[in-house]
Subunit: 437 residues, 2 copies
């Protein structure tokens, strides 16, 4: 497939946005993409930000034709743990119809489908691209950019592929996303590391304290988050909406995860928990001696990262404040707690049957031979809420990845059939749009 | 002082037992010490082990005279972080009556006092030395050596100086040590790392599970260890024994640790908690993303190390089994738990008023001008229980260091007054012993 070669090039750039050591690589990815868009007739602008540049590009053919704004991101998650990768994460490798690399599915492969689809496109549609390099760190620069440039970004449809199909060979349209609140907690006890023999019995132990704190964040029996007020704004879900959803193969999900139970909030089905309920997960923890063997230390410091997925109508700032207040309340005496708010994102709910959604449904059915299923997603794309607010245009969330793509994990991959059919779907969508629906 | 010059030589040998790069240096320290003992009339034997040699030496003057066995170690901790040292750690430097060097107090300085004390000793006492080079890595070779050579090691008294005086200018006799049980716990959830958006709500989270587990190991309110049966064998401490103890300056301890409270088991004083009560401390924890910024991962694995300090009559193997059984009981469903037992050591309690302790008390009082205080210690010296069992001889723990000697830390030091008075005390002890007490 001719679209594959450039994608392999794109994937070989280690554009890890969270790691300052990769700052130049992130920029390199932006410049690479700009070049590909210029090759397709786009005018490009690189907007500098305090961190990584925002790439804006436009190909305006006809002021009377409809305008599509494509959003995507060219940055990727860190690749660790490296030792679990079968090929180096930035040496993209094709095996059995899939390309393996960090960013293959999230989001370079999906974004690339949108760029590749524009080659020799018949029909007149104006296309704009808004591509950022800070999605994996919470889009700090993009949100103000959108607010500031709403004129420039004006469009009739917003297209975003940064998600997954519900299952293989199952065309999928997504009408909801969860939001995010991410915090880091650092806990200090004594002024220095202590010998556990000489001081065990009188010394604060920040690791033990983290245990007490974590156990109070989520109830072990019910799976409910214990932060006061957290559920106050959670919107109930209608039976009618639930009837839209495809059935979930729980057995297959258990098999995929290699687990015997799917733990979660009591009283809700797995799909409800994934799509319509807030969740809380610690994402990292550290403290004391992590090497081989034993060291009898009581560490002076320890810490953890914790994030919450949010649903309409929760607000990330409000939730972060609720969590912070609760953390300070449950911090045991004798410890100093430092809390960093790392990033947030608002939840999104769109109309599953807006006109562009109906067009995309048609294109999907023609390409895949079956109508799409309608889903929400558990993940977060912070800019979506912002684009909805700023542009008042319907958003089409067309996930081209798959649930087993290993996002944010070793051996991330992207199925080449999804690349191929994704490109075909988008080309058909543009044709239908140019024809006036 | 003529005893100082050789000690500076001893301290200049970087005998870091844990670092393979220093293997020859460790051997050099053993050979150096053997030479000093031969100069004093000892016959020496270097026993090879898989790692570092055990030095045995004896000076047997009279089969009818009492026999003393001195234990010590010639290996030292690694010196890092080097940048925090005021002099290079293996360039021993004397400032304000103290010698600064790695190993100054632990244990070369204290061990050297025992060797120096034997110069031209009047009175007939048989003396044996058992000196290892693996104390800082858990004495793997010494424990089997003691069991195998109990005939050779036979003695009427065991003398050990590898500890600290309770406070400066405060002669101290120690009659108890805590034991140790050290475990590592690894927890697995899903088969791979997962995206917290895509799977938050159905995925096991080993970090969260560790929180629940840690919170059940120790009660936050009472500070009690919650492992069933753990306190069953804990021997109560008599009021009579507590009256032996020096008063603890809690304010000074809080200042030293930089804390406002000294957390610990409810209902017991700090000294009781440090010396006579078992404690449990997680010593390390890891899982998920530990780097800068945010990563929205639900890790497949996480783990922690936890150790317990034990008191008479707890047994490390039994305690490790109790902890292991309890950990398996409180492991939430959906997680796989792997438990490693890292190492253990038995607690020790000796008779504070055994005949050799009374002799040493007399010697201390004559040299320091005040009677000794009686302490236990919170730390563990695994070989002591082994020597007690193998030799059935009373053990005298004569700490010559000080609590602020910076053991295992930068700027380790040894007060020269402790070297001088330590040598004088030991010489007086041998005289009293030769005189029949």
């Amino acid at each position: 497939m001719s679209a594959l070669e450039p994608l392999l090039e794109f994937l070989s750039i280690p554009s890890v946005s969270t790691d300052p050591a990769h700052k130049e690589d992130v920029r390199k990815a932006a410049l690479w993409l700009a070049e590909r868009l210029r090759e397709r007739g786009f005018r490009t602008e690189l907007h500098e930000t305090p961190l990584h540049p925002i790439l804006y590009a436009e190909r305006l053919l006809d002021p009377k034709a409809p305008t599509v704004l494509v959003y995507g991101h060219y940055d990727v998650q860190p690749p660790d743990p490296l030792e679990l990768w079968e090929n180096p994460p930035f040496v993209p490798t094709v095996r059995e119809g899939r390309v393996y690399a960090r960013g293959a599915s999230d989001d370079k492969g999906q974004l690339w489908a949108h760029v590749a689809a524009l080659e020799d496109l018949p029909g007149r549609v104006n296309v704009k691209f808004l591509v950022e390099g800070e999605e994996e760190i919470g889009s700090p620069s993009l949100l103000p950019f959108v607010r500031e440039h709403r004129e420039k970004l004006q469009a009739d449809v917003v297209l975003i592929s940064d998600g997954a199909m519900f299952a293989p060979l199952t065309p999928t349209l997504t009408y909801g996303l969860r939001g995010l609140a991410y915090l880091e907690v650092r806990l200090k006890g004594a002024r220095r590391d202590l010998h556990s023999g000489s001081f065990g019995g009188v010394a604060p132990n920040p690791i033990q304290a983290m245990g007490w704190i974590l156990s109070k964040l989520k109830d072990e029996k019910t799976g409910r988050i214990l932060v006061p007020g957290l559920y106050d704004r959670v919107r109930p879900v209608s039976e009618e909406e639930k009837r839209l959803w495809p059935p979930l193969d729980e057995e297959a999900l258990r098999r995929e995860l290699g687990v015997e139970v799917l733990p979660g909030e009591e009283g809700y089905s797995p799909l409800e928990r994934l799509w319509t309920r807030p969740t809380l997960d610690p994402n990292g923890i550290w403290g004391g001696y992590q090497g081989e063997g034993s060291k009898t230390v009581i560490p002076a410091e320890a810490g953890f990262k914790v994030s919450l997925r949010l649903v309409p109508d929760q607000d990330p700032e409000e939730v972060a404040s609720q969590v912070e207040a609760y953390l300070r309340e449950i911090c045991p005496p004798g410890y100093t707690m430092e809390i960093l708010r790392l990033h947030g994102g608002r939840p999104v709910l769109t109309d599953p049957f807006s006109p562009p959604m109906r067009l995309m449904a048609k294109a999907l059915e023609e390409v895949w031979g079956r109508p799409p299923v309608y889903t929400r997603e558990g993940g977060t794309i912070p800019v979506v809420a912002e684009l909805q607010d700023a542009l008042h245009a319907p958003v089409v969330l067309l996930g081209l990845g798959l649930p087993d793509d290993n996002l944010h994990a070793p051996n991330e991959k992207f199925d080449l059939i999804n690349l191929e059919k994704g490109i075909a779907t988008l080309r058909r969508f543009y044709e239908l749009l140019a024809q006036g629906g």
